[in-house]
Point group: C2
Chain length 299, copies 2
């Protein structure tokens, strides 16, 4: 079954201990859709400027991604400039140029509205809700957010959460949203806000899934070299939603496997800048790393 | 098969967000032996001062711990005063009074020298090596260390590591010892220094076992409330060594289970100050939490 993602497309400039790359393809909708496309068909809703290179559109199409919903607007593409140190956990933002993304208010093409799986990447929760309102009876809706929206659009975010099946957020966001420094307590608070399931991403420390009284905790795959962690969270979401879209039933077993697939996909994303590694990942690569991950954690 | 532990016995004064307790029973050898005693017989080598309350000795005996090697010396018992904030990861040391521990140079009672399992808790690596030299053909030797020895007794530590089967250290120690901020690289460096297996403890983020080319990664059990994390690392080592002492074969499967038991025991240690919870843990409690941990991580 197919997936709809609404989010950002960016031309990023990124510096890590492994080098600096300018104007490289990025954005939440890109990482998500390339990751999810390894599992199921993906349709993308996003906006770019006139400067967006046609080679990137060609690349997305080559991955089987439906770009009917990619609007080209007068102006420049959204761009983020950031720098990571050796710990990779907390990038320094050098500059954010919203450009055409600043008044992003996506229309959802008619043929997209019946998509069964919806991922609302990190954008204004009011937009996320507006998009969701246009969808006809989706089977599974997941969303991401960021500290900025928790601080500045809390009310809209809380309204949105009542309509969400899977809410993905990172550790610091979970703590900020609930005021609790304990992740178990934070997750229980968040479940009360509406989402059926909460996934807390802990980066190099793995992730947690909370659902009712059930908790699943998984470490991260160990990487000898991380070149650029940009997009890891959206790539994770892509693997998660991609795998679930192939499953008849969304239950405890399939959700746990989906989280492991999410983690597996993220390991490819961080192995090189932009989509350089993730973009060439085969089903065989994924199966191999899933097996390695099983070996890493099984007792 | 029985276990020998050499380490510290302390009267700690500890402040956490849950209160302040003065002169409570602590020390690496205490946490280790109480934890390990749930699995196998433990003999303790340590020193205390004349002020050491007899009720603590009675408590150790009630746990079946052999205290023949507990020397009482003129002077006061070692004491540590520390304070934890809400994140619990990095205590502030208010005071350390070595007292009788300052010239600790333990003799190993003759009847202890054939013990098959040896845990050298965090003391001067020269002492650790001296103790080990007195042991007759042990089956399994594990040791712990701390940043202070890495910085000040590096050469002695490296000499010791050539004789160790399992080296336990925490994340920051692994990074300091090797100069590598990547744990996979750090562990590979450490394995080259001699120990057959390396366990890197990551506190609330679980632990890693490295052995040849095999890696095992396990998250931590999720705790709603941590009252006092003091002794968690030694309690972990106690569960690990205790379980292994019951196993015919020390192999991949038993080591992985041993690490999970170590993590399980640590969860009891942190639930209250001193040995208050850990000291009353039953085999049934342990089995229950082991099962919960399996449910938490299985996919």
């Amino acid at each position: 079954m197919s997936i709809l993602v609404v989010g950002s497309v960016a031309l990023d400039t990124i510096k890590t201990p492994f080098g600096k790359k300018s104007n490289i393809l990025g954005g939440s909708a890109i990482y998500f859709s390339v990751s999810a496309s390894r599992f199921a068909p993906v349709s993308l809703v996003a906006v770019v400027g006139k400067d967006f290179p046609s080679k990137h559109v060609k690349f997305l199409k080559s991955k089987g991604i439906d770009v009917t919903g990619l609007t080209v607007k007068q102006g420049k593409t959204f761009s983020w400039e950031g720098e990571y140190g050796w710990d990779f956990s907390d990038p320094k933002t050098i500059a954010t140029h919203l450009n055409v993304f600043s008044d992003f208010d996506p229309d959802i093409p008619r043929e997209y509205r019946k998509k069964k799986h919806v991922f609302l990447a990190n954008i204004d929760p009011e937009l996320q809700e507006r998009v969701l309102g246009k969808m006809v009876n989706p089977r599974l809706v997941a969303c991401d957010t960021m500290n900025y929206w928790i601080e500045n659009k809390r009310k809209s975010l809380l309204k949105l959460l009542k309509k969400i099946d899977i809410f993905l957020l990172n550790e610091s966001e979970a703590k900020e949203l609930t005021g609790s420094s304990n992740l178990l307590k934070a997750a229980r608070e968040i479940l009360k806000l509406g989402p059926e399931r909460v996934i807390i991403k802990k980066g190099e420390h793995g992730s947690l899934l909370f659902s009712g009284n059930s908790v699943f905790s998984t470490p991260a795959y160990l990487m000898e070299t991380i070149v650029d962690p940009t997009g890891a969270g959206d790539t994770f979401a892509g693997g998660l939603m991609g795998y679930l879209a192939t499953q008849k039933s969304i239950n405890r077993a399939s959700l746990r496997k989906a989280i492991v697939y999410g983690g597996v996909m993220a390991t490819f994303a961080v192995q090189d800048f932009s989509l350089k590694r993730l973009g060439s990942v085969t089903k065989k690569d994924i199966a191999k790393r899933f097996k390695e991950f099983t070996r890493l954690t099984h007792f």
